[in-house]
Point group: C3
Chain length 630, copies 3
């Protein structure tokens, strides 16, 4: 603990895999071990985030009980020996998880030094939907809740296709092995069911804790797991995430900051886990971060709205399957390869902490909608291999490299304060989302819709009224065709840029064309069109500009509409360098400039002109509202 203090560790997170320690035999629960640690940490000035130990039920739970275990999509029943091996919907699991959680909440919930709770650990990080027979029964109940009658399900899904028609809910299969693909609705609904169930488990755990403890509750999630983060965090108190983004993908790291800041608006997020140097398991490893990168990560995390920045892990594991993973200190108790970087972070934290406490991130003018539900649609219907998270990160990077201060928001987020809204890759535009977007546009916002947005119903079927359903009806922009654009033969032109067009596309009537298709089977039609509605504008982007030229076109398009929308919270930071604008209660604005790519960079600071930032360095600049927002 002395050492922890030396390295600036003022909070630790414990307990997430400790179930067998806390309940070594079925029913014999004793959490004093964790209670003692929390007390000792507190005596040493270190605070604790306590986790429920539910990802690893002990052997007395697993042994001889295949019916309690997670079943994967190939029908394999998981065995003991790793983690997340239990079906979290199993009734006995829920009972035992409730017991251990309640006991922890009772005994530790009021301890001084305890500052927060984390539920479980990285829900669904190794697994997706469970195919066990418990889940089968719950699936049927869930369907009945959703559809009421089997006729309604048959109608909504259109089960006439391939004679899939069901006579009762209990006949609806889980998406197990079939000769060819399962029905889209069945696949997508099973994913929704699964994400709803894990969120329900989180709610259940949180409710138990709240009976005994007033402390805020979080979960360490990511955008990679088989969860619906918006739903998962609905009843939690603050956001936290784990990130092991590779050093070269800085946009992936910054995207995390920009989305987790917004999931619990006005509540700072935590980086709950990141490696001091590199991630690794027995089977693979990432490369060590360059010296200095950890500090850049930490400063960026704080500047963009973070409150906690925690390492996983403190001491390298001497056993198990993650022995090679980097840590603050080695398995033999000495400084690790990342140790000096940890000290560097601590130094930076001390320097910037007063400023961070005195300011908050400035409201962005630009928002991009991100949706785990959309991710599930794309999993069901990947066309030629769409990976939602990756493609969204690339599109996000257009905003980032344009120097726009931006929010990444979930579907349910309010749109107040934004001037430009970007909604790519959202197959189903819900009634609620559309109604917010309508209000946004009518009151003066510019909404960029697409690519691949609006073409599916909430049941994952195709609209029968028109290609893009309610979006199309509202905007009046006629979609002529939808089809997979062939980027080898198709080009489009807009704003003076020409680029190949690809991806599953909507082609519009040429009347409102801002971007026109120049070659391929739809030559002369529009891939980009504008419609003024109310005081604002809807921009339909029907196809994806591809490659380097596509990226140029996208940047040009974003710049154009950002200007038109009057977006002023932006900078000209060189690529690899980011700027986080913050503001104090006194209305004074500061810019935290961080070089993330290790190459150093420049940015124009009003009244100072162009300033440089060292590789992996950061600098802080005062600006006035007048200077930047005019």
């Amino acid at each position: 603990m002395e050492w922890m203090k030396k390295t600036g560790i003022n909070v630790v997170r414990i307990g997430e895999f400790a179930w067998s320690k806390l309940e070594p035999e079925e029913g014999r629960i004793d959490v004093s071990f964790l209670v003692d640690i929390i007390k000792r940490l507190h005596e040493n000035g270190i605070e604790t985030v306590l986790c429920t130990p539910t990802p690893t039920p002990p052997i007395w739970f697993s042994h001889g009980h295949p019916e309690r275990m997670h079943v994967d999509q190939e029908g394999q029943v998981m065995s003991h020996g790793s983690r997340q091996h239990a079906c979290t919907n199993n009734a006995y699991f829920r009972e035992k998880a409730a017991q251990i959680t309640e006991e922890l909440a009772k005994k530790a919930g009021h301890l001084p030094g305890l500052i927060a709770w984390q539920l479980d650990n990285e829900f669904k990080c190794h697994i997706a939907e469970c195919m066990c027979s418990t889940c089968k029964g719950l699936w049927h109940e869930w369907l009945e809740d959703r559809y009421g009658t089997i006729d309604r399900l048959n109608e909504e899904w259109g089960t006439h296709i391939w004679s899939e028609y069901y006579q009762s809910f209990e006949q609806v299969p889980q998406p197990a092995a079939t000769p060819f693909l399962h029905h889209s609705s069945l696949q997508t609904m099973y994913r929704l069911f699964s994400t709803e169930k894990i969120a329900e488990f989180a709610d259940e755990q949180a409710a138990i804790i709240r009976r005994h403890s007033d402390l805020p509750i979080t979960h360490n999630s990511t955008l990679m797991f088989s969860v619906d983060n918006e739903r998962l965090f609905q009843h939690l108190d603050f956001a936290s995430f784990d990130t092991y983004a590779p050093q070269g993908k800085l946009e992936s790291y910054v995207l995390n900051c920009d989305i987790w800041r917004n999931i619990k608006k006005n509540t700072p997020y935590w980086v709950m886990e990141t490696s001091t140097s590199y991630a690794a398991s027995l089977e693979s490893y990432a490369h060590p971060h360059a010296n200095g990168y950890l500090q850049a990560e930490a400063v960026a995390a704080y500047a963009l709205g973070g409150q906690g920045f925690c390492y996983w892990l403190w001491r390298q594991q001497r056993t198990g399957s993650e022995q090679p993973h980097s840590a603050v200190i080695s398995a033999w108790g000495e400084p690790s390869i990342g140790y000096e970087n940890v000290l560097q972070v601590e130094e930076a934290r001390k320097k910037i902490e007063p400023l961070m406490l005195a300011t908050k991130p400035v409201q962005a003018h630009v928002a991009m909608t991100y949706s785990d539900k959309a991710r599930m649609f794309h999993q069901t219907e990947p066309h030629n291999g769409i990976r939602y998270k990756d493609m969204m990160t690339d599109l996000y990077n257009v905003l980032l490299t344009e120097g726009l201060h931006r929010d990444v928001i979930f579907e349910g987020a309010e749109l107040d304060g934004y001037k430009l809204l970007f909604t790519p890759l959202l197959p189903h535009v819900s009634e609620d989302y559309l109604s917010k977007a309508k209000a946004f546009v009518e009151s003066g916002g510019i909404w960029i819709v697409g690519p691949m947005t609006g073409g599916r119903t909430g049941e994952h079927t195709i609209h029968t009224s028109c290609a893009l359903g309610e979006v199309e009806k509202w905007t009046g922009v006629k979609t002529l065709f939808t089809f997979p654009m062939d980027e080898q033969t198709t080009t489009g032109e807009a704003f003076g840029e020409t680029a190949p067009l690809g991806l599953w596309s909507a082609v519009f009537d040429a009347d409102a064309a801002v971007g026109t298709i120049k070659s391929g089977v739809a030559t002369g039609k529009a891939f980009l069109s504008e419609t003024a509605i109310g005081k604002g504008k809807v921009v339909m982007l029907g196809s994806m500009p591809m490659g380097d030229d596509g990226n140029k076109l996208l940047k040009r398009m974003i710049r154009h509409y950002a200007e038109e929308a009057g977006v002023t919270v932006k900078t000209d930071a060189s690529p690899g360098t980011i700027v986080a604008p913050r503001m104090g209660d006194d209305g004074k604005e500061v810019w935290i400039v961080v070089n993330m790519d290790g190459k150093g960079g420049t940015v124009t600071i009003p009244s100072k002109g162009s300033v440089t930032v060292e590789p992996h360095g950061y600098s802080i600049h005062q600006v006035t509202k007048e200077e930047v927002h005019s």
Copy 2:
């Protein structure tokens, strides 16, 4: 239906997946739904091909009955939710399939407007051999029928290898999981068993229909599925096929026309399914065809002997797993991206129809043998990855690009009228085939044998008398060695061309060498040899000329023997353009020239000289017999 007429749709195919509509509850059959449609179509001047709905047994068949389901080669039992999930050998499946088929035949078999039947849909398109216990029992019966005694099986297969010796038929396993490869005979026989069983199911269905309807019966097959098309069509009335060959592989499309024309000699084939623009499912898509390509496909299909040219599908599916697939009209009821092309096809059809009805394809002089049995041998014994269909298509392309009018024929086809016969990749040359080939050669034909032809017995073992068995005994061409030629180190020379040689090869005594091995371990021996027999000649091709140089050598060889054999039905069409010669009862010959590759082309028309054809265009030319066959 109005719209159908507008687009030239004069026949529709229905019913292939309608089982749950026709028999929503077990035993409650009512086909009036389909009967009504057929009547209404007829009233609108549209004819119907009616399908039996057997690829998709309803949920009351599947639910709770794993023993009725298809079991794949990893032992996975299929679940409901896709198609082809039932084991077609299951007794209850056969019973229910017979019932529904009989009812359909009774109620619809004499309806005016009904013109033909299609059995099921794309047998075995998603599945291969079934491993269920029903199949196990039938497998043992099939073996007993084939071999009589287990001793005979042991002897024919040579089960002394690896102590595989069986004491009774019921001990013979299905080819399920083993530490290393299964015995070749067991593998190949299981494939034969499986293809025989699906053909038997087709026969059973056809017999039921024939009790109530005189209309011709077909099935929509392809060369890709796990069936033996020659056997499958044995008791059917006309040929039809589905094709989604990519636009760039025109030889694949034309091969289809050339083989399906011949499977039911003198009966025109149908293109039963092709996409208006592109094929797609939730998981992948092909690129849209260029405008004009569909017309080229249609004209080629008709000119090469087709009668029907049908799209799949009329209206884009709004649900299920093929929502993105192209159609004539969209899910929301409007023209699709391929719509204009459909109109173009209709225009062309009207123009060429009188000529098509007045003429028939000219008898080809060149034939190439294609065999699904050979495909099964190569599946069992792929050496370093032989894919029969692909390699056969490449070899076929040699004939095509040489401008030879050609037939692709199955093993059982008669050889009358041919001058040059090409038999590559046929491991087992059956007694029947050899006897026809002997007569063909003796009466003046030239037979090119190989590569990879003749080296295996009908039981998929190696001959013990000589390398190529009866072929070798008859020709007297001594095969010295068989081994995998190393194309990196081996070259051969023939007809002035030198090329790398590869593939599992037979090397001949140099005495009758036409092509000599110039490097590698068999230098100085022959890879190509000639033997005059009767009035004709046998050409043994022991190895595969590889790469561009190999292609040149193959073209040179084919040209040489086509000339020597007196092949006159040929043209000099530029690559990408094809010529279909047809003749009327009046003996007048016409050439239909079609540009398939969209680049345009040329061909010399006797008495006209070189004429050009527009990209994806076609033209029709009268020629006289004297002009072309001299």
Copy 3:
């Protein structure tokens, strides 16, 4: 047999798959078939190696008994139809294997002409660890034997990680399906258990034979299979191996000779199987060897300490799954493509036999340790894809191309006679190994340790005292960090060579640096360090020099320490040519020079100067001790 004599075949190996012939019905054993063959062979002057037929239990063993079959790591139960389908730990298998072996030993054990026994055939060539329930029970017994109490297991493995803690041995799972990786200790111990059990089966078989026969016993193994060869051969009498190393990987072939020579010190090894031309099965094939290569292989095998050089197989199989494999004569009884090479070998054998009988390989000065246990550690912990055998072969090739005469030895081998010991990729350095190495160093040897040596305990966990455990404590060379070196950003310099550094690395204090890290996160630290201990020296190599430059650095390092250690048994053979030094009882030394790569080569022969060797040729040269060892 006449033909065998003609081709120089003077010993044959039979029986390994003959079980169904010997015991066609359960309990009816009659081995007279094999006895007769052995007698007839003997009458023809051909000797026999007799195999136990245990890799292929007959159908009466397999049929209807899934519980007797091997279960693979995906839980698939093997079916009859290939080989190695039985679980060799099944009690009934052991009983029946003992019976047939005893009967063979009784009836054939004293036959004239029989010269040796081979147990089974290529243990575990197609399979790895078995997951059946018999093995589960034995696994629990094995663990109890090893650990005594479950508490000890929990402590040694560190099962506190992820709540894996076990309450009893019977709860410990086999490494079946889990959401993420199994614990390293569990994985590695299960591999050790499996290799121990197959060795135990070999011991059991050998003991039965020895009750009836005094002949030496071997097994035909390789370095590729899931066995621990050191343990497997512990109670066997002589070494033999099978090799199908591709012609281009001569170092892989020579490595085999250098390791199998040492597994039974002073007892010549046999090449029990090699192809006359190429290896093949139904599914794949290798390329035919160039003419001459087989002779080079044979001469090298004999010169490096071999006694037998046998082909697999005599006659090409006419059935089964290895029909395409090369043989001496074809399935139809004629010379194969490799036949001339077989005659060439026989000619060479006759020439060199007297010399071989009069001499023995000279004691090498350089040894490299190879360990199947290490292989198992790397299987459990492959980092980014380490393949132990391949990487060891590359490192071995450094010694080979440096012209050093070398031994490859297992962990248990004595170190007498060596001057330089190289121990790469040995994660766990056992107490016994370390104590031998200490003695070796203290008495003047140079020990090169690493890369990746010493960082794991025998339980496959990380040391908690220091990074490299006892090795580090003894040498006093401080390891600062261990982490995955990034070869893209890291270079090291030693002996004037600079190269990228990669692999899981140990970085040392710079004090004793011989090689220094020049870039990357550990710049300035050492990747290579030297410590003088006693009369010798320990060289720690912490990282892997990568690529061509890395290879240069490794060669330079080996040359440096070979010189320093006074290694004199070496030559300057050009790459692709090897030299095998041998010595007679008279102390006269001869060098057998063999060109393996088919390009010819040169080597300096003392007193003769540079001599050349023809492609695939060999030559023999007398040298004096004074000439070479000074």
